[in-house]
């Protein structure tokens, strides 16, 4: 028996949770893009200590499970550093660093996929490194990076559900709270799944359209 009143009676809590999820999705994607841009570009220099540093960053955050990163930043890091980290900051830092490492890889691969002849041609007309990147390489790389960036960002929205493990009141946290006093996990978690589907299916579709557009624009 599916009892809709469980959802309708607690729609306010779910709404708050959804806002929190969207909020974290947006801010961690923004911060992650900034991190990814810096770490990605650093890896494209010829100065090996920077390249190595970028590499270490990427492999570090890509290869530790996100849940472990979040728990570590929230519970372990404050003990190491002797500082107080709120759950919001822990969630923000953990998720941003994680997505940043993926964005960095996408950026690096995107730039490296641009034909080296483009760099030759830009260099030959006297362009500096900055001019080459800004005018010639990055515009071509970004076009190719749109599909993987979109895909990774969709994964990021789903990953925000891990915030519930460090008690950030996101959608999943609110759902488990509601089921704890209604004893109706079936209705509540079904609703959460449906909400993600409703938001992400159109976005996935949009990403695929962008991908097709990106290919035809070369």
């Amino acid at each position: 028996m599916f009892d809709y009143t469980v959802i309708t009676n607690n729609i306010g809590l779910l709404w708050q949770g959804l806002l929190m999820t969207l909020y974290f999705t947006v801010i961690t994607i923004s911060a992650g893009l900034a991190i990814g841009l810096v770490v990605g570009l650093v890896q494209l220099t010829t100065f090996w200590p920077l390249v190595l540093l970028g590499r270490i960053y990427v492999e570090f955050f890509r290869n530790i499970p996100l849940l472990v990163t979040l728990l570590w930043v929230y519970y372990a890091f404050p003990i190491f550093a002797g500082v107080n980290v709120t759950k919001f900051w822990a969630g923000f830092i953990g998720l941003s660093c994680y997505i940043g490492s993926f964005y960095a890889e996408i950026l690096r691969a995107g730039v490296q996929s641009v034909d080296p002849g483009q760099t030759d041609a830009a260099t030959a007309i006297g362009m500096s490194y900055g001019q080459r990147m800004r005018r010639i390489i990055l515009p071509q790389a970004f076009r190719r990076m749109i599909p993987p960036l979109a895909g990774q960002s969709i994964i990021q929205m789903k990953n925000t559900t891990l915030l519930s493990m460090i008690t950030v009141p996101d959608l999943l946290y609110q759902a488990s709270y509601i089921s704890s006093f209604t004893y109706r996990p079936m209705e509540v978690y079904t609703a959460v799944g449906a909400i993600f589907l409703i938001i992400l299916v159109p976005l996935t579709y949009l990403a695929r359209k962008l991908e097709k557009g990106g290919v035809s624009a070369k």
Binding site: D115, A121, T123, A124, I125, G126, R135
Partner: protein
């Protein structure tokens, strides 16, 4: 320096280039006077493309000295902060004294033909876009591309793309034009139009260094042909001498095939030479 009729524009002095353990260029001397068209020929791996890329410092020689228009642009060790100090900014400015045309055209695919030609003068030289636009239109018209100025590279044929690439390089008003096998990537029926554009440009008095496998084209366009073999110049001279009366055994075997066809083409070639002189 001995006084000559024409001024020396490009001078390479004992240029060596090393990639790891492989010595690509083993001390190349080459002087090009103003308005001269020098064609570099040689087998694959002889170092002709590498030599060309040293002239605009796309490759940094391991030793030697390069000057353009009496300005030293590379001197042994100048990249290692010893000897003459040439900063990165200087290198970029120096590079815009040379224009380069590549085998694979390398047009910027996200820009129209016109934008490709305008990019250098506007972004690097910071010239007025309106003036540059006018100049770029003239250049593209000269290249026979007035119908195609607003097209993207992917909408153009290989021959058209290469002519845009020539216009892009010329727009920077270089002192020397460098061509790296400009017709090798083209379909046979498109080779002619690109060759014609290069010959026309040579007739305007542009100084050029051209790497090509098309010996007939070399014969037609060159003032001097330089034959490279395993990183050294083994023979050079006027086209008739190098192609029709080679002395060095390596050159003899290299132009052997050309000889056969040259015999067939001799009447045509002689007529062409009379017309040129």
């Amino acid at each position: 320096m001995t006084p000559t009729k024409k001024t020396e524009l490009l001078s390479l002095d004992r240029i060596c280039l090393q990639f790891g353990a492989r010595q690509v260029l083993k001390g190349v001397d080459l002087n090009v006077t103003e308005g001269e068209v020098v064609v570099l020929i040689g087998a694959s791996g002889s170092g002709k493309t590498s030599l060309l890329r040293c002239i605009n410092l796309l490759y940094t020689p391991s030793s030697g000295k390069i000057s353009i228009d009496n300005e030293v642009i590379y001197h042994e060790g100048s990249d290692k902060k010893v000897g003459s100090k040439i900063t990165k900014r200087e290198v970029n400015r120096i590079r815009s004294n040379t224009g380069m045309v590549f085998q694979q055209f390398n047009l910027f695919p996200h820009m129209t033909a016109l934008q490709n030609v305008m990019e250098g003068p506007v972004i690097v030289k910071r010239e007025n876009p309106a003036t540059v636009r006018e100049k770029a239109m003239q250049l593209l018209t000269m290249m026979g591309l007035e119908q195609h100025v607003d097209k993207y590279p992917r909408q153009l044929s290989g021959g058209q793309q290469q002519r845009v690439a020539i216009a892009r390089a010329v727009a920077m008003q270089p002192k020397v034009m460098l061509f790296d096998e400009p017709t090798s990537a083209l379909d046979p029926e498109l080779v002619g139009e690109v060759m014609k554009a290069i010959v026309d440009l040579a007739r305007t008095g542009m100084t050029m260094v051209i790497v090509t496998h098309e010996l007939g084209f070399a014969f037609e366009v060159a003032d001097r042909i330089v034959f490279l073999d395993e990183g050294v110049i083994v023979e050079q001279g006027a086209p008739q001498k190098v192609l029709l009366h080679p002395e060095h055994p390596r050159l003899k075997s290299f132009v052997g095939r050309f000889h056969e066809s040259a015999d067939l083409l001799r009447p045509f070639l002689e007529a062409r030479m009379k017309e040129n002189s």
